[in-house]
Symmetry: C2
Subunit: 231 residues, 2 copies
Amino acid sequence: MKNKIKVVAFDADDTLWVNEPYFQETERRFCALLEDFLPPHSVSQELLKTETDNLRLYGYGIKGFTLCMLETAYRVSDGTAHPRLTDDVIRLGRELLLKPVELLEGAEEVLDALQGEYRLVLATKGDLLDQERKLKQSGLEGYFHHVEVMSGKEAADYQKLLKRLDCVPDKFMMVGNSVKSDVLPVLELQGYAAHVPFHTTWAHEQHEHTPEHPNLVRLNAIQEIVPYLIR
Amino acid sequence: MKNKIKVVAFDADDTLWVNEPYFQETERRFCALLEDFLPPHSVSQELLKTETDNLRLYGYGIKGFTLCMLETAYRVSDGTAHPRLTDDVIRLGRELLLKPVELLEGAEEVLDALQGEYRLVLATKGDLLDQERKLKQSGLEGYFHHVEVMSGKEAADYQKLLKRLDCVPDKFMMVGNSVKSDVLPVLELQGYAAHVPFHTTWAHEQHEHTPEHPNLVRLNAIQEIVPYLIR
């Protein structure tokens, strides 16, 4: 495998740096704001419903998430919450946009080991400006030959990315924590995928089982990709 | 000039299709929602202030604009508005995201005349998913060799775009309605720019005067670019 692959693309959120725990912390605080109306667990369910319903309209990222919290708050409180709640929720979103970037263990070490040997790409969903901010703050920008913020990560989106990179699928490997977004669509195109589980996954990204596939590498930690790709 | 240029990039909003009038219509409806608190003109000023303050955090696009309307509503009403206002404003934002794409006169004719002669690029700010939606709906997708949704349009952003396109500035022309975003930064890099005025411009994009510059082409209508580029 390692003789074929030329391009190694990395997911960013929860693969190179912390993301989902920040969203979950925000969600907990959001649920607490509505505890007079509904128990936290039920508010969470309502929020996920709003997010799922709006995904095609808002896409991924913090601004859409904030709008979903606001819509959920209105629905859950049946329009009876204090107007200050809107302000509180907007502030939760702003704080999420200002979170420091915390690199995951081994992320930089891996990029450092692979640079020069492979064309390294960052391929992530989310708000364009926010992902650019995080990349800049991460200090990892210099490792990447190409950065792509994608509106989705389905097979057709990867096809577009490969076209941009002028790369055929069997010279491409995607490394990421989401089976649904980083693994399955790439395998579908006959590319290679390396799955690095993260301890927590957004409900929308959860996927029942990891498939068996000759092009799939299962890692326990991101550092394990190095011996696969470099002798 | 026409012998040198290889890549012609087009701005999208208010260059190829209608955008600002939709925002202005939404803003009028937003101001009307707050008329019990402040006259429309003052609400507009407050909204522009919010947008300007948040630009670095939210970037461009409808989701950030909606969050700015919500923040402004809270401030203008001093937290005394009915909670339904939040719901009304979120709905205004959703409607803006669902507006049909209305091509500007001559847009497709120009792309059709230039295709095959030049590499055509779409270079636009805004929400990633929303611009992709508009491009798809516009029917213009097939004309473009490359589509770039940018988080900003300053000289450094164009430099990145040129690098992606593997194009030097003096083989590049940008066509757009904003002197600030489509003309000045490109001239700064010694590229070419064609300015097509649109009848209305967002306050944030307004620029006092169009410069005199040998690399600048002033058009009254987008169709006038064709004789410049093709004999």
